[in-house]
């Protein structure tokens, strides 16, 4: 089930998607790392897909989130490896997860349904393997995109909605730090703590889970 309402279905023009207040997003991270990190640091080069190429004080940082455990597994744990089955012990030791509840609606740039018809890019460009020069350039452009409102004001989108490179049906969100206050962070737990949920997510992804 989608966590996003696209275009007119979300009360927005085509090209944008709404993620409603109350939605829970998940952030995978190292157990000893802060979940609410919007990287890269100012002055550092971008590393990940929708980081800006070189972050200045005027550029937003990015926090990568997903509304599903599958999204977190694909983007954080599995990535370019083809490990199957996954190790519960490794996930418990090396990965943590923190949920964040949205305190307001997010307006996101839609790179899922209208990436070509509105934004002029196609899946191979958005889902290219690293290095992420092309998507980082795109992200840089998108940070300047504004959405005019009926009252003459402009709305600055909160980030980018995209599909995982490893399973495009799994929605992911690259959230800019202008929306940091929209996240109400919960407790950090080991990724392996809810073994049933993990096993279910692995089953849905068609991979095994071992000790």
């Amino acid at each position: 089930m989608s966590a996003l309402r696209f275009g007119p279905a979300g009360g927005l023009p085509a090209g944008y998607a709404r993620c409603e207040a109350g939605t829970v997003l998940m952030r995978g991270h190292r157990p000893n790392k802060a979940p609410d990190w919007f990287g890269p640091a100012v002055g550092r080069a971008g590393v990940h897909r929708f980081d800006v190429p070189l972050r200045t004080a005027d550029d937003p940082g990015v926090c990568y989130l997903a509304p599903s455990l599958e999204g977190v597994l694909l983007e954080r744990v599995i990535r370019d490896s083809t490990v199957n089955p996954l190790s519960h012990a490794t996930m418990s030791r090396e990965h943590a997860i923190t949920a964040a509840r949205l305190t307001r609606d997010l307006v996101l740039i839609d790179l899922l349904a209208t990436l070509w018809t509105v934004h002029g890019v196609q899946m191979p460009e958005v889902a290219a393997v690293p290095p992420y020069g092309a998507t980082q350039q795109l992200a840089q452009q998108l940070t300047h995109l504004t959405l005019p409102q009926a009252d003459g004001a402009v709305l600055w989108p909160d980030g980018i909605a995209y599909g995982s490179r490893f399973g495009a049906a799994h929605e992911c969100i690259a959230l800019w730090d202008r929306a940091a206050a929209a996240l109400e962070w919960g407790e950090t737990v080991s990724l392996g703590v809810d073994r049933n949920a993990l096993a279910l997510a692995c089953t849905r992804l068609g991979i095994g889970l071992r000790e």
């Binding site: 190292r30 919007f38 954080r76 730090d177």
Partner: protein, 101 residues
């Protein structure tokens, strides 16, 4: 923990001593405890789209190492074990209250 993975240089004579590729040591250092030995072997033994050969076919990292593509393999391994929070502040520092910079 990684400690049981090796790949050896081809022997140049039948009296030679097998020598492991130094890159495997570097890979083990990069991986640390983030992958089990089995997971690392699976990573190194599976064709990877980030490691295409001259014909465009994905190579396994083991095959790429044998062709001298050490840098590309190290980049791949570093990428796989370095998710987006690699530069994030440690929780213990309490710095994440302003973790946007």
């Amino acid at each position: 923990m990684v400690g049981a993975v090796a790949q050896f240089e081809p022997l140049v004579s039948d009296t030679g001593v097998p020598r492991p590729y130094e890159a495997i040591t570097r890979i083990s250092e990069i991986v640390g405890s983030r992958l089990s030995t089995e997971e690392l072997v699976a990573l190194l033994a599976t064709p990877q789209v980030m490691l295409r050969d001259k014909t465009g076919q994905p190579m396994t990292p083991f095959a790429a190492l044998a062709l001298g593509e050490t840098t590309r393999v190290l980049d791949l391994v570093r990428w796989v074990v370095t998710p987006p929070d690699a530069d994030a502040p440690d929780v213990a520092t309490g710095a994440h209250a302003s973790a946007t910079a």
